[in-house]
Amino acid sequence: MTDIVALIARAQNAYVRCIDNGQIEAWPDFFEDNCLYKITTADNHSRGLEAGVIFANSKGMLRDRIASLREANIYERHAYRHFLGQPWIVSEQTDEVRCETSFFVVRIMRDGTTDVYATGQYLDAYTMGERDLKLHERIVVCDSSRFDTLLALPL
């Protein structure tokens, strides 16, 4: 059990490090080709409402998200700093682990303004490969239904 927690924690750390260091081109590679990534609110999630702020059901859609952020969308430069809780293992099978991890994200704007941007939890399904583990599903459930101005970088 400890090994699994350590493996997941390591994967989670690599994921947020990638985003926080601005290497978002590598972000889709944390996912399987056939995946689900969704950012939604606790209210939508608890009511069973399907639509999210971001919804992607393929790695291609994640790549498109990054390509659009880099090439098309216009927004003020900013960065995140993610703080993660310990993963809570919900279920463990040979090839899949489901877990929940709290996150706390601070957003640093171009002018230095630093605010709590989002808190919530990752509801994850990791596929356990021989060499590494990939996200088969990540539902980002934000505690608040309120988003300040924009959500550009992924959570």
Binding site: T40, E71, I74, A152
Partner: protein, 419 residues
Amino acid sequence: MLDQVARTAIEAGFPAWPTDGVTRVPYWVFQDRAIYAAEQKRIFQGPSWNFLCLAVEVKNTGDFITTFIGDTPVIVARDSDGELYAFENRCAHRGALIALEERGNTKAFTCVYHAWSYDRQGNLKEVAFKDGIKGKGGMSPSFCMEHHNPRKLRLAEAFGLVFGSFSNDVPPLEEHLGEEIHSRIGRVLGGRTPAVLGRYTQSLPNNWKLYVENVKDSYHASILHLFFTTFELNRLSQTGGIIVDPTGGHHVSFSAVNATAEQDNEYAEQNIRSDSEFSLADPSLLQSFKEFPDNVTLQILSVFPTFVLQQIQNAIAVRQIVPRGVNRTDLHWTLLGFAEDTPEQRLTRLKQANLVGPAGYISMEDGCVGGFVQRGIAGADGEKAVIEMGGASTDSSESRVTEASVRGFWKAYRNQMSL
């Protein structure tokens, strides 16, 4: 010579509107606290119809939602007679909120402060310890509960959209909207049952009118939003136009695909995609299904002062703009599908929801640009915006390279504000 409108404004303590009518908008309207306060009285509590919710959100007896008209908190509830009622979310006793939740189901509303209780029509029904205890204390015998209710609203529906008004003077909703606007709401929502797919709130760092201007501004679309352009998804065969109602306050901006040119275009699109520097790795995002008998792929519709109905391909949503102070605005998004959707159609809507909202491929910038203006005009309350694209008129037009519907908003605004 000052005209009568300008004179009235000066008497009310506001600076005069610049000459040149609605082609110039003074920046103080986005900055002035007195203007904000006057808007509450003259617009939101004045002769306007304000979007409150969808009828399906309060479908069953006892269902309620809480929302806002301008600053004013409001409750909408369905009573056992099947009718909807709306009233201020303000206890008649000491002014506390009557309902704290955003939605729910209830038999009655009881203020937590002193347990004054209201029925689902907003009538005061119980006052705790009204007759005192053991003959001591209590309300005066002359106290009449019927005379102490939160203010009640007029309600009206258009194709399942519920609007409320504090005014007895505003014409009936359908007349207020006019046939052109009303029928284009029906085009999107008529004859089927909306289903809420999701909700979120986007907080905007700007005055509410800057977001309204952005919604009505068909000039910026291809300039600010580069998603379609970058990925070579613009359709050469697009036609379109804008409709501005006679008051100026409501508008529709639309674009359509020419059906015969479309076949050629699809062929060309294949080539463009393979040649283009950028292409979507997963183009299923934009694989729409045929939803309407016409070929309109985009229809943005606004109702004065703060309602937007959006159709962008198969992404349908309503947006409610709620002012939260001179510099802050809440934008409440409700993403819609329909009970009649197939699972495939539902999936398409979920994918195309990526186009809108705070993370929207084509509306991400809209959330930011109002803040750019609010920050840009700081210290420039004596200066003014130039709104002259397409001339000075507020007329409907076949071109979308015009600011006619922005001017239309200011025409309606000035009229209602006596500015």
